[in-house]
Amino acid sequence: MAGVLGIYAFEEIWNVSRFLYYGLVAIQTRGEEFSTLSTGNQYIIGEGLPDTLDPSGLKGQAGIAGVFTKEEGFYFDDEISVLYDGSIDVKTLVHQIKNGDKIEDVLSSLEGAYALLVLKDNVMYAARDPRGIKPLCIGGIGFDMAVVSSESSALDVIGAEYSRDIKPGEVVVIDQFYIESVENEPFSQAHCAFEFVYFSRPDSQVFGKSVHSLRKLIGETLHPQDADVVIGVPETAIPFAMAYSGKNNIPVDLGFVRTGRPTRTAIKPTQLERMIGVQLKLNPVRTAVAGKRVVLIDDSVVRGTTMRNTVSLLRRRGAKEVHVRIASPKLVAPCPYGVEVPTRDELIAADNTEEEIARIIGADSFSYLKVDQLKELIGLPVCTGCMTGKYPVSTGSGVYPAEPTGVKTTSERAAEVST
């Protein structure tokens, strides 16, 4: 999981490093473990959020930056800077580009799911995989800069205007003197459905659709329940709760107050960190739930441990009933395209029915959004690999891949790239 951002200024009077930095902050929700920023000749890597980066020493007319959930998805050396969200054989990519092969030709021979940015010899390349699994859009700032980003919200934050999504299979070449688009043959489309439910910011537009509008539709679709109050788990689940409330005529209330700075608990690497994150994050507001039948909405359940903790907290604050609604389909398989889904034995939904999960987490009822519902609401061809185990890129369709390409360890990746 990652977020990428590239900025190209057409004149030398600009230094883009601080534009990159603030744009990166806008998409830091896509990966909190590593942050990187490169202006081609110089690069910096921070272990953590973008605020671990100090861009003040960097100067450049063009640059690329990214946030990552693990130490993977970036490659820098004196000649070339590469960033990607997703999975691709970066070693071959770098090797062949350095051999002088055209990027579009290299990409047409490499399998993968990626939003890719390359900076080489003061030329920036922005590419999307031929299935359009990962999002990537382009826009501009006045007459001065072209901006490419995983999410359109980064464009808003640095004052750029969104132009369009980069097309599946398209490589956009951005030079001081031209912007050129080369289109490789697209395959059948499979946009990552999870972008809509979880990854993207609600103020972003991905795959041509408003994330917020879609989340409201999802909220309205969740299984109805007679109750006194609806609450959402901050922050992602709040819009779902608002829409559920409107649809079912149940008041929505402020269920939780966050402690500490905002962070995305589900993508924390260890169980302890996730638990610390959740417990710090969520302090229930007693008067919102005490004596009431509560519908609790969250965006996803992976292992069930944090949800169990949350339900128990609500009961201790006096909730009479707790009905859990999950605004995404159950996860049953890993993602080979760079999203960290735990292995099957760590997924609560893989072996348990909704009734069984309700009992495990201590809720009165429990219900997921169904895959078909989500597909219908999105209305675009989507990848639902993590929800169905069926993948658009052949990794043995329907079969749980033993070694998904996206979950290689850091050291394995590092070793591959450096050889």
């Binding site: 004149e11 009077i13 501009g140 007459f143 001065d144 004052g159 003197f177 912007i179």
Partner: protein, 476 residues
């Protein structure tokens, strides 16, 4: 025997004017280099078109019934004045009147002094040090321009809306201001740098014939200044232009009327300011802004390029208008235009606009036959002949097409671009004339319209009201 028409200038704009004139007149041309399009339909002389004596000498030689000065630099150098002095009829503003384009500071002062709608706040600087000091202390969202018209070059518009990017922007503004003085140092004006408030919205051009008393407006045209697709990239002189049938779909009648009113007032003000009737062509480069509605960004003392191509191709009574200038009967002659939408696409060599030398002197081939088979037409811009046809570094060729809709005209023009080729990399904008871009213009215009109408309803048009802690309310 038909009347004689002499055009001064050698670009695509003059090619468009000459081509229209050739429908009615015997055409002569004074141009700085051989434009193959103009050369083909005229008798011509290669001469320094900035030298009033040389141009006027050629006029004496030809003894034309009318002279049309197409290029702004000729006007700035007093070419019209000399032609008139020698007793010829000249359609082209005199030097003093052309000041409305040459000096952006003059233009802003004129609007302000005469209280003309859309008067943006501005400041002029005669030296870079004072400008830099101003930028350091005050400047927010601004446009920084060379005070003297420099072929559209040197203009930088910077939105300064994010506090966290303020330092970067301040730095860029300063570098740009210093660059202006370096690249565009004005020898003939005191003012060097103009800083004006930045406005946003949708741009459009209103081109008019006028004898100073009467005004003959032509259909609205929209230019596309960004170099690359989807309005990304550096500012150019224009990568292409569109016009609907008579009007642009995103500018309403009231806005059109207001724009024309602004131009009428400006033309009158030129007279009161300089004592000269504005006799020639004037183009208002407008923007529909959220602050004022129709707002003048810049004036041109000539037709726009590429906008001239759009209108000249469909102007069906150009001869009546020209003769209206001769007879003093311009008042009775509205422009008659063919009921067609038009699209122009400019093809430029790589290097344009920021490093023109890069794309200079490259061979370029134009298959006119194929282009005409599609129903499109070619206008030559920055090209010259030296054995082969070579690029001059700026917009080389402009392709014109018409149709029942902008969309249809755009498709034809797009198809035709494939017949302009070069060993050097050429580029043009595929998206000009597309539905997506028109939709975007409609949205931007509506956004501006909603805000300026609110401002109008609350009597806020043209007013700036602020409140500063410790100082209180400030109204300007």
């Amino acid at each position: 025997m038909s009347m004689k028409f002499l055009i001064v200038g050698g670009g695509a704009r003059e090619h468009a004017i000459a081509k229209r004139a050739a429908h009615y007149y015997t055409v002569y041309a004074a141009m700085p280099y051989r434009n193959p399009g103009i050369a083909h339909l005229s008798e011509y002389k290669i001469t320094d078109i900035l030298n009033p004596q040389k141009v006027a000498d050629y006029c004496d030689e030809v003894s034309p019934d009318m002279v049309f000065v197409g290029s702004e630099e000729s006007l700035f150098h007093g070419v019209s004045d000399e032609i008139i002095k020698r007793g010829h009829l000249c359609i082209g503003a005199k030097q003093k009147a052309a000041e409305i384009e040459r000096s952006k500071a003059f233009m802003r002062r004129l609007l302000e002094k005469n209280n003309i709608h859309g008067s943006l706040r501005f400041k002029t600087f005669t030296d870079v040090t004072t400008a830099l000091k101003y930028i350091e202390e005050y400047a927010g969202s601004i446009a920084i321009k060379p005070a003297r018209q420099a072929g559209g070059k040197g203009v930088k518009v910077i939105a300064d809306l994010q506090a966290y990017l303020k330092d970067e922007k301040k730095d860029a503004k300063k570098k740009h201001a210093a660059q202006i003085v370096k690249d565009h140092l004005s020898q003939d004006l005191d003012d060097q740098i103009l800083i004006e408030e930045r406005v946003e919205g949708v741009e459009y051009s209103l081109q008019c014939f006028t004898d100073g008393k009467n005004i003959v407006p032509l259909p609205l045209v929209q230019d596309h200044p960004h170099a690359f697709e989807e309005d990304i990239g550096p500012e150019t002189g224009g990568m292409g232009a569109v016009s609907g049938r008579g009007q642009l779909p995103f500018i309403n009648k009231g806005e059109y009327k207001k724009s024309l009113e602004i131009m009428e007032q400006s033309i009158k003000s030129v007279k009161s300011e300089t004592g000269e009737d504005y006799f020639g062509v004037i183009t208002g480069q407008f923007m529909l802004t959220d602050k004022w509605g129709p707002t003048i960004i810049e004036y041109y003392a000539r037709l726009g390029d590429p906008e001239a191509v759009n209108v000249m191709a469909i102007l069906e009574n150009f001869d009546e208008i020209c003769e209206g200038y001769i007879n003093g009967s311009l008042a009775k002659i509205p422009a008659e235009v063919k009921d067609s939408a038009t699209v122009v696409k400019c093809i430029s060599p790589k290097g344009y606009p920021n490093q023109r030398s890069l794309g200079k002197g490259k061979k370029i081939y134009v298959d006119i036959k194929k282009i005409r088979e599609l129903g499109a037409e070619v206008f030559y811009g920055s090209v010259y002949e030296n054995g082969a046809l070579l690029t001059g570094g700026s917009r080389a060729v402009e392709i014109y097409a018409e149709g029942d809709s902008i969309l249809e005209a755009g498709k034809i023009a797009e198809q035709a671009t494939q017949y302009v080729i070069s060993d050097w990399k050429l580029f043009h904008r595929h998206d000009i004339g597309s539905q997506e871009l028109l939709d975007k213009r409609m949205r931007t215009a509506q956004r501006a319209r909603d805000v300026y109408q609110y401002r109008a309803e609350h009597n806020l048009i043209g007013r700036n009201i602020d409140w500063i802690p410790g100082i209180g309310r400030i109204e300007t």
